[in-house]
């Protein structure tokens, strides 16, 4: 009997050693891939940072309303933030590639599913960038137009336009990432519909006297100033 126990123990130990021996090359490959990704990530960060600084990316970005994103970086520079993001992307890709080198089903499937998710992430990033630029452009257009129309609430209108566009953009980006799709659509619809309904009720019911007085005042004013209109040119 003791011979059988000894035989079983020997076989078990042998199987364990064989499993580890079969697993070790994958681990070594993972470590080598991670080391390579670390070095490459650092190199990419330096190159991207210098290239963006040379192109005056920070100045152009703040002109297009994306300067606030630079505050996410410790150095408050959008170029540094983008360079760091590129470094982390290299590291993550390296990790995922390393996981596929392991002869393990679950990590490999996880890595492959992450690779399939990358296009959605890039699309969401593109939506965010375009949305931020559009929000800046339209909010500034509304601000300048409202000021030239002598509207006292010009700044409020501009902020409202900017935030509506940013919320729409964020919703589209989250939908692209597949995060809470159903809830997102419902929440956005309720929020936006609620805002419009509240505004309509406020104007229709709560401000009807003020609107009536304003319209009567406007109707009493002559369409052109009395006397000779001025020719500015």
């Amino acid at each position: 009997m003791w011979q059988q126990v000894e035989r079983i123990l020997t076989e078990a130990a042998q199987r364990s050693v064989e499993s580890v021996a079969a697993f070790m090359p994958g681990v070594l490959a993972l470590m080598m891939i991670l080391l390579f990704a670390l070095i490459l990530g650092a190199l990419v960060r330096v190159v991207v940072f210098r290239a963006l600084r040379g192109l005056e990316f920070d100045r152009h970005a703040s002109r297009w309303g994306m300067g606030a994103f630079g505050d996410w970086s410790q150095s408050h520079s959008l170029s540094a933030a983008v360079a760091r993001l590129a470094q982390w992307m290299i590291l993550v890709l390296g990790l995922l590639t390393g996981l596929t080198a392991l002869d393990a089903a679950v990590p490999s499937e996880f890595a492959l599913s992450m690779f399939r998710y990358v296009p959605h992430m890039l699309a969401a990033l593109l939506v965010l960038v375009v949305g931020a630029i559009l929000a800046q452009f339209l909010s500034r257009a509304v601000l300048i137009g409202a000021v030239n129309m002598q509207l006292q609430s010009a700044r409020l209108m501009s902020v409202f336009v900017r935030w509506v566009l940013l919320i729409i953009t964020a919703s589209m980006a989250l939908e692209q990432l597949g995060i809470g799709r159903q809830i997102l659509v419902l929440a956005f619809g309720i929020l936006f519909g609620g805002i419009i309904l509240a505004a309509a009720l406020a104007v229709g019911l709560g401000s009807q006297d003020a609107v009536r007085r304003a319209l009567e005042r406007k109707a009493r004013q002559p369409s052109e100033p009395p006397g000779t209109p001025i020719d500015h040119v």
């Binding site: 300048i144 000021v147 030239n148 006397g227 001025i230």
Partner: protein
């Protein structure tokens, strides 16, 4: 005036209309039956007084009223009326030209080409909406050119000191400082030019450029000045224009005229960098001293409030264009009481130059940049009106002259930042 011998005074590119003549009067019209009669009559009489053979070239954008028929009736056989075609664009109500003449560049080009075909010694452009145009005005425009004394004669109208403030505060000073000629109204719709200058005009490549419909008059004046042609101004009295049914708002008008100026600056940067100082432009003609233009109805306090509203809401936008020192000075102006509300000439010159730089460097979309200039312009106008004595025409004239000098003094500020923008970036 030589008779054409033709039974019809209107010809479209036929042999009679191609007869050489001394003077050609070009008129752009569209549904101007109410006012074209006076303009054609004055043109005919003006040419007759100068014993010049001439004809009227009518660039009519397919009027739906009796504009062309009325012109023919008034012209008679003395002065042939030749109709030329040009492509009148569809009118966008939101983008009306400030002068109310869609397709002006195309119409003017057609007139100049017709004048060249007739080997005219001078070509005069008139607006069809001048009901009180006098024959003497036409003579004032034609005479210096036909005598060989000048190549370009611009109209100089007597205006109320508060009228034409965009021209007085921006167009004239910039034109004077950068191009070196003290042309009071560079964007005047009426002018006369010689044969050599007419050929030079037609050689230019800006006829189809963006902004040509609104900037063509100013671009032609700039072409004449920078081409070192002999310049002059003709006093034409008070300008009375028939009201248009729809006029563009101030923001649109300022954006068009100042935008056209800034586009021209960019194209001629190599020229105006070398210009130093300015020379006065000779003035010809006489005006009725008793004629007083009507005072416009405008409240400087409302203008001041518009400026203060603009400062409060657009400060961050202005900070993208103007340096911090200018923003601080504008804050002092915004906080000043009405009696001390002043935008000084040097400050104003630097503001305009910074906007020109912003336009050149594309600091922001051009529509936004020019829209952000409107409250600043209203602030300048309020400052001008609140200054004692500026309601007097002579005092206002001297005041504008000092403003022009300030623009000349500040020109190195513009040149240094134009050449080396990265040095001055904050």
């Amino acid at each position: 005036m030589a008779s054409t011998g033709s039974s019809s005074s209107i010809a479209v590119a036929d042999a009679d209309s191609a007869r050489p003549c001394d003077a050609v009067v070009g008129i752009q019209s569209y549904n101007d039956a109410d006012t074209i009669a006076g303009v054609v009559a004055s043109a005919r009489e003006g040419m007759r007084r100068h014993a010049a053979t001439g004809c009227v070239i009518l660039a009519d954008g397919a009027s739906t009223d009796r504009t062309v028929a009325v012109a023919r009736e008034i012209a008679g056989d003395e002065c042939p009326v030749v109709a030329v075609d040009y492509r009148r664009p569809e009118v966008d109500p939101l983008k009306l030209p400030y002068h109310g003449r869609p397709g002006r560049a195309a119409a003017m080009r057609a007139v100049l080409q017709a004048a060249r075909d007739r080997r005219a010694k001078t070509c005069v452009m008139l607006d069809a909406r001048l009901p009180n145009l006098r024959p003497e005005s036409v003579v004032s425009l034609i005479e210096p050119v036909l005598r060989g004394e000048m190549d370009y004669v611009s109209a100089h109208y007597v205006r109320h000191p508060y009228e034409g403030a965009i021209t007085k505060s921006i167009i004239y000073p910039v034109f004077r400082a950068l191009y070196g000629a003290r042309l009071r109204q560079p964007a005047a719709l009426e002018f006369a030019c010689s044969t050599s200058l007419l050929d030079h005009f037609l050689e230019q490549r800006f006829w189809d450029a963006e902004g040509a419909p609104t900037g063509i008059d100013m671009w032609l004046a700039a072409t004449a000045v920078t081409g070192r042609y002999r310049m002059g101004e003709a006093l034409l009295g008070v300008r009375s224009v028939a009201m248009r049914p729809v006029a563009p708002d101030l923001s649109t008008a300022l954006g068009q005229i100042v935008g056209a100026l800034l586009v021209d600056l960019k194209s001629r940067a190599q020229l105006w960098h070398r210009v130093r100082g300015s020379v006065p432009v000779p003035v010809v003609g006489n005006v009725d001293e008793t004629a007083v233009p009507p005072a416009p109805d405008i409240d400087p306090e409302k203008l001041r409030e518009s400026f203060r509203l603009g400062y409060g809401a657009l400060r961050d936008v202005w900070a993208s264009i103007l340096p911090p020192r200018t923003i601080i000075e504008l804050k002092k102006v915004a906080d000043a009481p009405p009696e001390r509300f002043r935008i000084h000439d040097d400050l104003w010159a630097r503001i305009i130059y910074d906007f020109a730089l912003g336009h050149h460097l594309k600091a922001m979309p051009h529509e936004h940049l020019l829209g952000a200039l409107v409250p600043l312009y209203l602030g300048w106008l309020a400052s001008f009106m609140l200054e004692p004595g500026t309601d007097d025409p002579d005092a206002a004239e001297q005041r504008i002259d000092r403003l022009g000098m300030a623009f000349e003094t500040q020109k190195p500020y513009l040149i240094s930042r134009w050449r080396w923008p990265e040095r001055f970036r904050s």
